[in-house]
Symmetry: C2
């Protein structure tokens, strides 16, 4: 939860002259979001979000992210639509950062996930996959399987500080997962970070999906596996199969899964748990004291990983 970069009122006013969205009425930093600085911007023409991209985002990827958002919005998916400036550009410079203005989406993200959230979530995820299919540029998933080994190697020397034996456990799990990783499943553009705080609901329906800055071209069912990790565990790390059934039912209402995709769910779910475990482990070991963002406990994902390692088939997820 952080705003990393402050924007002076003069710089903001000058920035807004690049756009046809009126003059500033209010400007507040938003607490949500850990990678970039986000501001709620109210102008004489309405509400917008201003995002300043911080150092963890490769600015070379931004045109792809924003292009995907424009493509999905044009298809009718409710996601932030980048606002183009008077010169047609959707990216400009503000406070020495690359910055974009996007439309404001209504809704509230669910602080406590209920089973009733999971079916519409699944449908929205399938819509994203289907609607994204004819966006032709691709982006490799830097946090996909090929990224795990270098990530683990950076943390291995200190992993046992967190839990004795953790390094060996993760290395063994990673080899197991990589050896079984499916090669021929349907692929396309995935969100890759569709956690509850990136999904807005209004009156029980999904009103918007946000934060496409981990999106990539990868296995569709891996995106489902990420959601199984992010939405279907309780606070005590027990797995709620009612939620996973609802999620998969909602997904398949819009895009049916093949038998190969269904059978791959356990290994995909293990991989998804490992992916978040590895980035959290790295952040946990490398975030300086006093940083603006509190690192998330990597152990939460070790518990998820162990569950998925115990899953013998898709039946563990209610299929």
């Amino acid at each position: 939860m952080a705003v990393y970069t402050e924007v002076t009122d003069e710089a903001l006013a000058a920035f807004l002259t690049l756009y046809d969205i009126g003059r500033v009425v209010a400007f507040r930093g938003i607490a949500e979001g850990v990678e970039n600085s986000n501001y709620a911007l109210k102008t004489t023409q309405g509400d917008f979000i201003l995002t300043l991209y911080e150092k963890r985002v490769n600015t070379a990827d931004l045109p792809w992210f924003l292009g995907l958002m424009e493509h999905l919005a044009a298809k009718g998916l409710s996601c932030p639509l980048p606002v183009r400036g008077l010169d047609g550009k959707n990216l400009n410079i503000l406070a020495e950062r690359v910055a974009a203005i996007t439309t404001f989406l209504p809704g509230v993200w669910p602080r406590r996930v209920q089973a009733a959230h999971c079916e519409p979530l699944g449908t929205a995820l399938a819509q994203l996959h289907v609607d994204g299919a004819n966006f032709s540029p691709t982006r490799e998933n830097a946090l996909g399987p090929s990224g795990w080994r270098p990530l683990l190697e950076k943390s291995l020397p200190r992993a046992n500080e967190i839990l004795p034996g953790l390094g060996a456990e993760l290395a063994a799990a990673m080899e197991n997962i990589l050896a079984a990783w499916p090669q021929d499943l349907p692929r396309g553009h995935i969100h890759a970070d569709l956690f509850p705080d990136n999904v807005f609901f209004l009156d029980g329906k999904i009103s918007g999906l946000i934060d496409f800055y981990f999106a990539a071209t990868d296995i569709y069912a891996y995106d489902i596996a990420i959601c199984l990790n992010a939405w279907c565990f309780e606070r005590d790390f027990s797995f709620n199969v009612t939620k996973s059934q609802a999620l998969l039912r909602g997904y398949q209402a819009h895009r049916a899964l093949s038998s190969a995709e269904r059978a791959a769910l356990p290994v995909l779910a293990r991989g998804a748990a490992l992916r978040f475990l590895l980035t959290r482990l790295y952040d946990w070991l490398n975030t300086p004291a006093g940083a603006l963002v509190t690192p998330k406990d990597p152990m939460d994902y070790l518990r998820r990983l162990r569950f998925h390692l115990s899953a013998e088939s898709e039946a563990a997820y209610g299929l």
Copy 2:
């Protein structure tokens, strides 16, 4: 910058039934604010701020703070107006916290203070003092002179960890300031925390004052002294007398200072610097690593204090 308490969508929806402000449309944590949790709340009827009071606020003081805000708003000062529920109460319980909804104020707080901000700031401060005069309940300033000795004593054992000799320097300055503290200056309700992030501007004019949760009944000119500290130093801790002159000119355009008030400015400014130094020192020594809020460097206020100790008369502030 933090949201300490998460509010579930169910709890928020239930809370809003206590008010006649419509249904929730959007709900985002605000990054600004270090004491309480603040949310930007958009309903079908407009924009509001939802505040959950956290542990540093004494809830017994809240009716006084909100009463003062209602009083000032009724006088025409632009400050958050607490919204009363259907039962007439302006405080309710949400997520196990005392909570209030207030009106949303337009404007942007100045990230980089310019001299042009300081004259309207001074006028707004004088308006606050004059408008507050016939609000009869009072509140003792817990962070006024009587609070400094116990605060310093809590930090003395470790003050020298920050700077060798700091403890002795602060103890000597405190005795000096307390001995010279004025006893008969005009008193009333003061804001006591009118830093730039609590003052919104729009088109060069002040559009709102916020965050009355340190307000108290104390010496009016002490409030000016707090603003001299908060608004008139440059980033290199040099004192900008053009800014202080503008601030004092703006103030006196609405409320003239007596010769006793003017003569007391150096000691009041020393006291104000000491007050923020002491709370920051305490937080610096006592904030656990990984806390949501990064403590502010107490040394910034040592430099201010040293400037004020060198000020021989009100001439140092441009009077």
